[in-house]
Each structure stands twice: as structure tokens, then as C-alpha cells.
């Protein structure tokens, strides 16, 4: 199997299915926009030429700071076609965090919306040399990007062709929460992504008539399946705006009215859809697959969803950003009522190998708990500019193979499926996002009044996990909770804002004078 570049998947479909609709972008107050494969391919060629004109070269990084839109997809492929890799940032996250990310991997260009420009410019200038900013007036169905080359008076480069990156060249960098308080960049290559997309093709048998959801944001690894699997097969990708994606009532209507056939998201929104989405109001003739990943799906809500929508097949997909999906499990068609324990994460995907090891790296016996390790074509190259954490993330075996250590503790059950037990560190999953509790603590320490901060997460029936921050203050007068929430909203992504704040005179300590998290977890 020859590895192709991700953008070649699009160009092949543009040849085979030029008039198929590649992307639909439903809009709130109008009919919405759509773009065919031929148009998408042409727009991305023009953006490629424009980016080259601005100075983008193979191996560069290019930032994307746009709401989810056809323009954002055009940006992704335009960047890939230059041979550079794309770095999508969360348009709803604080600008300072995004500026840190874009500066950290020294992007050559940032494609952004006008509304983010002045603040991003100021934040980036404070960090170092300013990259070129390709500013769009808005994001409207690819029109601003389609027009951008005209505005910039780019000479039409007749006969220019897209780059042919090597399989191990980077395609994108996804930043995830880092335990030291700064996000870290997971580097993924064309080979990583293409081998995963091919596994998806083999497992889910997509066709040109499928209609895929794009619910996850593009800085989140679920977007890789969303974007590349439909575009490889001439199918249609239906973009779901951030605000609709959080609103179960509008979302339920959209899935039905847009006749989506493949749904993929974190379980948390599926739980909300089940409870608040009014799913019984609609027919669901098209929906054939419901895929979920990113956190444990409470069986109570999964069963209720299956009762509302009995026709589709349900798959639990598991894997960190570093490997994307590495194991999968098909949920049985009828979940027996007494079951409350979560479903397994399943068996390894065919393009990867897995093993379970003890703390010394030795294989454990089937049924014993150990850390899940993953090797194969889907595993990341490493973390951007972090040789230490990259080395720590891998374990080499006798034959020199690199095994990524997931940090997830699992055991293999009698059927050969892996069962997720927990984490070996302080990472939790919240609404599908991974959150290092240490990053929340670092954010809180930036507040002038905070002397000590300790953050814990406890399971919660409704919200999945409940995050509590224990704080001690420098002065007698403590900041209000309203002020702390606002401070967090300005400094952390929304999914990292603690649910509860508890003030104490001093945090409990262990005998070695470290914060005693165990004691905090049993605090009333």
C-alpha cells in the first residue's frame, strides 16, 4: 500500500466526483452554503498559490484561526498542498493561549478572521517576530478565500502543482493540554493520518452517498475522521457550527433534516441529545452509524439513545491524539437492562499493534491490569520541540520498535477486548477534551491573590466529571468566585473552568510536604 498525501485524497475525489457536494455549511438564518468537489479543489489550488506567494514552503507551519467553516476546510487543504503542515487553534479559546501555540511552533502564516486580528497581533508581537497574517473579512462558504487571491493580486501561476510530501512529513500539529501548564503540540504525519483513514474505510465502508457529521472542532483529533473519510469517498461533509453543536434541540433537528448517515462525536453531546434533543419527534431513515470517542459513555444514556434510535450500529472508538483511534468496539444491538458497567474500548485497529505492560515494561498476563502501549503507522512522530517529553512518551522494545505509552491503565477481558480502568497520571476527560489538572492549577496561579491551588476531578453522574479547585489566598480578603470564574474564562479554554471553588487557609500536605490530593478527594 503506497501512502499518499492527505490532499491527494481530495484531488482524486475531485476527478472522480467533480459535481458531488463535498461540504455543506448550514447557516442559522439562511439556507446555508455548499461547495462541490471541483470547486473545493480549485479553491484550494488558488490558496496554495497564494500561500506560496506569501512565502510558505514545504515543512513550514501555517496557523488556522477561523470558526469552523468551508473556508477553514479550504485553508486546511490549501496549506497541505504547499507541503506545509496546518496548526488549527480553538477560535473560542483565549487569544493568549492561541498566540502561545502559534508562536511555539513558529508558524510562517496565520489565516484568521478580521475579528481576531488586533488582539492576536498584540499577543504575538509580545512573544517575538510576527508571522504573516492572511486576514479574511469573514467566513462565508469559501467565498472570502476564493476571492483572497484576487485581492492580493497574485499572479496566476499557470501549471503549478501541489507538493508531494514524504509519508513521514508532518500534515498537522494538534495542541493538547500539557501538565506543565502549557499546551503541547502533537505532530502527526501524512502516513499517520492516511493509515487511519484507510482503516476507517475498511471498517465503516463509506460510499459517495454518505453524509458525515462534522461535530468536533478542527483542533480536536475527531476532525480527522470527519474531514478526510468523506472527502476520500466523494461523500458529503456537513459542518456543524460551534453554537449548534452544543444545543441538543437544534442539533437533533439538524441531524434529521440534513439526513446525516454517519455521526461522530464525544459521548457528552450524545447524552445531551438523548435527554434534551427531542429525538422521538423525527424519523431517522439515513442514520447508519453512530461513532463516539473521547470519554466513557455512561451506559444509562447509551441505552436510552439506542432505544430512541435502534437502527444504526454503535461503535466506541478509543485512542489518544498521539495515535488517533487505536482500538474499537461495536456495542451490541440491544443493551441488556441490568448492565451499568461501561463498554470495553475493544480490540486494536488493523493498522496498529497494542500490548499491555507493567511499570517495568514487561508484558502482563491476560486479565491483569497494565498500561496500554501502541505501535504502528498511526503513532505520532513526537511533541513539537519537546525532546524530553517525546522520549518519555515512548518505550523501545528489543527489536527497536517504538511503542507509545498511552498512560491509560487497561486489562484484557476473556473476549480479547480491552477494558479501560483509569489513568496513571492527572489527566481527565471532560466533554471529550483531555484536561491536565496541572494546566488548570497553572492558570489559577497566575491570579495575583492565589497563594496555593490544587485541582481534583471526581466522577459525576450528570456531567461525567466534576472539577473542584481548592485555593488558599495571600490576603484575608479572597477574590469572589464570580471574579475567579471570569479570570479562568480569560485564561483557560471553557472546558477547563472548574465547577467548584473551595477556599481553605492552607492546603493539606503529605509528610514530604507535597499537596495531599488523596485527602482533598475525601474532603466533604
Amino acid at each position: 500500500m503506497a501512502t499518499v498525501a492527505l490532499h491527494e485524497l481530495l484531488d482524486r475525489s475531485a476527478r472522480d466526483y467533480p459535481d458531488n457536494v463535498a461540504i455543506e455549511e448550514p447557516a442559522a438564518h439562511e439556507a446555508g452554503r455548499e461547495i462541490t468537489y471541483a470547486q473545493l479543489s480549485a479553491f484550494t489550488d488558488r490558496l496554495r498559490d497564494l500561500l506560496r506567494e506569501i512565502g510558505v514552503r514545504p515543512g513550514d507551519r501555517v496557523g488556522i484561526y477561523l470558526r469552523k467553516s468551508i473556508d477553514a476546510v479550504v485553508s486546511i487543504f490549501g496549506i497541505l498542498k504547499t507541503g506545509a503542515c496546518y496548526v488549527p487553534v480553538d477560535p473560542t479559546a483565549p487569544t493568549a493561549r492561541n498566540a502561545y501555540i502559534l508562536n511555539n511552533c513558529s508558524v510562517r502564516v496565520v489565516i484568521l478572521e478580521r475579528r481576531f486580528e488586533s488582539q492576536l497581533r498584540a499577543e504575538l508581537q509580545a512573544l517575538g517576530p510576527l508571522p504573516s497574517l492572511l486576514v479574511l473579512e469573514g467566513t462565508v462558504g469559501g467565498v472570502p478565500l476564493g476571492a483572497a487571491p484576487d485581492r492580493e493580486a497574485v499572479p496566476r501561476t499557470a501549471g503549478s502543482v501541489s507538493a508531494s510530501p514524504a509519508p513521514d512529513d508532518l500534515a498537522y500539529i494538534l495542541y493538547t493540554s500539557g501538565s506543565t501548564g502549557k499546551p503541547k503540540g502533537v505532530m502527526l504525519s501524512h502516513r499517520n493520518a492516511v493509515s487511519y483513514v484507510e482503516w476507517c474505510s475498511e471498517t465503516f465502508q463509506p460510499s459517495a452517498t454518505d453524509r458525515f457529521s462534522s461535530h468536533a472542532p478542527f483542533h480536536f483529533d475527531l476532525s480527522i475522521l470527519d474531514i478526510y473519510v468523506p472527502l476520500k469517498h466523494g461523500a458529503t461533509l456537513v459542518l456543524i457550527a460551534e453554537d449548534v453543536g452544543k444545543d441538543p434541540v437544534r442539533l437533533g433537528a439538524l441531524i434529521a433534516e440534513r439526513r446525516l448517515s454517519v455521526w461522530y462525536s464525544a459521548p457528552s453531546i450524545l447524552s445531551l441529545l438523548t435527554q434534551y434533543g427531542g429525538l422521538d419527534k423525527y424519523d431517522w431513515p439515513a442514520l447508519r452509524l453512530v461513532l463516539f470517542a473521547g470519554e466513557v459513555f455512561p451506559v444509562k444514556h447509551l441505552r436510552a439513545l439506542q432505544e430512541l434510535l435502534p437502527k444504526p450500529r454503535y461503535f466506541n472508538l478509543y485512542g489518544p491524539t498521539e495515535t488517533n483511534v487505536c482500538t474499537f468496539y461495536e456495542v451490541p444491538a440491544k443493551i441488556p437492562p441490568p448492565r451499568t458497567e461501561p463498554f470495553p474500548i475493544g480490540r486494536p485497529c488493523s493498522h496498529l499493534r497494542t500490548k499491555v505492560v507493567d511499570s517495568d515494561g514487561g508484558l502482563v498476563f491476560r486479565g491483569e491490569e497494565g498500561e496500554l502501549c501502541v505501535a504502528g503507522s498511526g503513532v505520532m512522530s513526537g511533541y513539537w520541540n519537546l525532546p524530553g517529553p517525546t522520549a518519555d512518551a515512548f518505550r523501545l522494545d528489543e527489536s527497536g520498535d517504538r511503542w507509545y505509552r498511552t498512560g491509560d491503565i487497561v486489562r484484557e477481558d476473556v473476549d480479547g477486548n480491552y477494558v479501560f480502568i483509569g489513568r496513571r497520571d492527572r489527566m481527565v476527560k471532560r466533554r471529550g477534551y483531555r484536561v491536565e489538572l496541572g494546566e488548570i492549577e497553572s492558570g489559577l496561579y497566575r491570579h495575583a491573590a492565589i497563594k496555593e491551588a490544587a485541582v481534583i476531578a471526581l466522577p459525576d453522574e450528570e456531567a461525567g466529571v466534576r472539577v473542584t479547585a481548592f485555593l488558599s489566598c495571600r490576603d484575608v480578603k479572597r477574590p469572589s468566585i464570580v471574579e475567579l470564574k471570569r479570570f479562568c474564562a480569560e485564561n483557560l479554554p471553557q472546558y477547563m473552568i472548574p465547577d467548584l471553588f473551595v477556599f481553605v487557609d492552607a492546603l493539606p500536605k503529605t509528610s514530604t510536604d507535597k499537596i495531599d490530593y488523596q485527602q482533598l478527594k475525601v474532603a466533604p
Binding site: V482, R486, A489
Partner: protein
């Protein structure tokens, strides 16, 4: 006519700001942009408003413009009564 504001304030304090001094949550405190109401909290708040005031909130009303302060929320509730 302040009973709507009072009821909303009491609910938000109890559900989303336990332990907070009620004086800190004013009618103009930003709730969504201020990190107090996330998407799940917003859904719970809307369910509370519908139940408590016997109104129906349309899906397109569930956004920052209509829910960012207690004043906004009270205005929304009155317009639906």
C-alpha cells in the same frame, strides 16, 4: 417586578456558584462570557426558566445575547410570558 431577577439569581447561586456571597452576583454580571454558564449549565438554566415561569424558550434564544446577564434573562422571560 423584580421577582424574576431574584429567582434567577437564587438559582444561579445555588447551582453554579455554591459558596458565593450573593452580593457578588449582580444583575449585570456576565454569565456566559464570564465563565459561569457553560453549555450544560445553560441547558439546566433554560429548563429551570421553562418550569418555573411556565414559558417556552425557543432554540434560537439560547445564546449569549439572551442569557449573558440576569437582566437579559429576565427580559427574555418577560417577553415569553
Amino acid at each position: 417586578m423584580d421577582h424574576i431577577e431574584d429567582a434567577v439569581q437564587t438559582y444561579i447561586l445555588k447551582e453554579f456558584l455554591p459558596g458565593e456571597d450573593p452580593a457578588e452576583l449582580t444583575d449585570s454580571t456576565p454569565l456566559v462570557t464570564g465563565g459561569i454558564l457553560d453549555s450544560l449549565a445553560t441547558l439546566k438554566l433554560v429548563a429551570f426558566l421553562e418550569d418555573r415561569f411556565g414559558i417556552t424558550v425557543q432554540a434560537h434564544d439560547v445564546d449569549v445575547e439572551h442569557l449573558d446577564t440576569i437582566v437579559d434573562i429576565a427580559k427574555l422571560v418577560r417577553s415569553r410570558m
